[in-house]
Symmetry: C2
Subunit: 314 residues, 2 copies
């Protein structure tokens, strides 16, 4: 295998999307140098990650960590069959993402109105308008990237508390009607529990079927892997996670840490569910992050204790 390319033709039972370069880095005080980011993304692709959320098209003055998004997308597109995903909070960002050549654009759509206003300064229904406009622009573009509506705070909001399942369903349907190709459910605040995960997934599936593709889970209260297991049992096959558990949401106080990629990959592989990811190479990619941010807290059981003796992946 050529170093720096992702593994084409690899058989996978689940797709793990690494969101560290976006969700992780945007939360850190420090800025990762563009060349380091490229090295990290290359190492992740070489480890077999099929999809990486490589950056965010937001105004650089708001998130200087993401100022190099277009350059990072260009680099990521050279990495074999890697699906290059980005975040765009509005149609303006989506235009930049389309021009940069992203394969997938995730647009955050908070189910909680308060979180939506804090995060993107728009109501959920105004965000549906942004998705509609982005889908129209995408339709006119030659590259035609996938647009995913990422339903934030789908399982609870630190500002509003519980979130109505009916509102999750309503916004999922509205996003698809507005032209989104896919819907993902994000537990932005880590408040989800396994029972709720199964219920909400079933409710959303009933309306939009396989347009519900993935979940984005946080580990705030330690339920990250249990929730991932529940989502898998409910039929989900695409999972966001972040290497070393970096990330969280600046507008969801107390919420910190995505599900740790290393532990999620280990859980699936130990179950015989193929991720197509090489755990050894994942550790090499982790080293790039931990060396770049020696003072940041990093998470993960498997990175801390190593694989069990005699462990053989799926």
């Amino acid at each position: 295998m050529i170093p720096g390319t992702s593994v084409a033709g690899m058989i996978r039972d689940v797709e793990i999307c690494e969101v560290g370069p976006r969700d992780g880095l945007q939360m850190l005080k420090g800025i990762m140098l563009t060349e380091k980011k490229k090295a990290w993304i290359s190492a992740l692709a070489a480890a077999g990650l099929p999809e990486i959320e490589v950056g965010s098209f937001v105004p650089p003055k708001l998130l200087p960590q993401m100022a190099d998004a277009a350059e990072i997308v260009a680099h990521s597109r050279t990495l074999g069959s890697l699906k290059v995903a980005v975040l765009a909070p509005n149609a303006k960002g989506a235009i930049r993402a389309i021009e940069a050549g992203a394969h997938k654009i995730t647009m955050p759509l908070s189910v909680s109105r308060s979180h939506s206003l804090a995060n993107v300064r728009k109501t959920p229904d105004e965000m549906i308008g942004e998705i509609r406009e982005s889908a129209r622009l995408r339709g006119e573009s030659p590259s035609r990237p996938i647009i995913e509506a990422g339903l934030s705070t789908a399982f609870g909001c630190t500002i509003e508390g519980s979130v109505a399942g009916s509102e999750v369903v309503r916004l999922a349907v509205a996003a698809i009607e507005a032209g989104a190709d896919e819907v993902g459910l994000a537990d932005t605040t880590g408040m989800a529990n396994p029972q709720q995960i199964k219920r909400v997934i079933a409710d959303v599936r009933r309306e939009i079927g396989d347009r519900l593709t993935g979940v984005h889970l946080h580990n705030t209260y330690g339920l990250g892997l249990a929730n991932a297991l529940a989502a898998y049992d409910a039929g989900i096959r695409t999972f966001d996670s972040s290497q070393a558990g970096l990330g969280g949401c600046p507008y969801a106080p107390g919420a910190s840490g995505n599900v740790v990629t290393e532990d999620l990959v280990y859980m699936f592989e130990s179950m015989g569910v193929r991720t197509g990811i090489d755990i050894g190479k994942l550790a090499e990619a982790r080293r790039i992050v931990t060396e770049a941010f020696p003072d940041e807290p990093v998470y993960g059981h498997v990175p801390a204790v190593g694989l069990p003796k005699y462990f053989s992946p799926a």
Copy 2:
């Protein structure tokens, strides 16, 4: 409610057995003073724990931390409806446990021969003999405590690697035939995965039905809660765990940390599964341990970040 008593008549969907005073304390370098232990166990009972493994009847020269087991059992028996459980590695220990008045005696039966020899200096089949003798002695006692065979290394062994599911089933059947009332499955090394948990539980259930009562899970590779969820989905309703995640096994190198009681209770309560445990009072009990051992590592997401805002238990 009278402080220091457990809650009688509390409706519970699952029974959580706190093993910290046994599995936790036996792993620590320091010794908890008898009066502190009593205070901790009282606080745990007051928090609503229905069952506590309060000590181990092993030779005091091997485990000086457990030298006060009989006194601790006597104290624990005063705590309302609390089920007072202990560990005994052989018939000699079982005699002492019966005399002390324990309600339940767990006898460790390693599925891995190497682990069995290291842990109790007997082969698994020799341990079946100890269970038979203990069951006979129990039959002659006025108190007639429950005898549980705790199948250690039931999901993997750090010495031998994988463990045959057929051997788990064989030993579970042999233990029941020898007179054990119940069988528990212990992931001593943390090597279990959710798929395996479901498969082994189903296999053992097929042979001994509801005599398989509980699971004892470790969090070595971070899968503790996911495995607990899988066991719950497979029909298990009794779960061992340890406050602050204390504990492990001295003869299973690298294995450390039981499932954290606080996080396990939170997971179930968030799912609407009633534990009968008061999370606030659990935090008070935790303080007794963390103050007694300020230098020991303690675990738990919920203790670290607090309950989610607006959280209401099941």
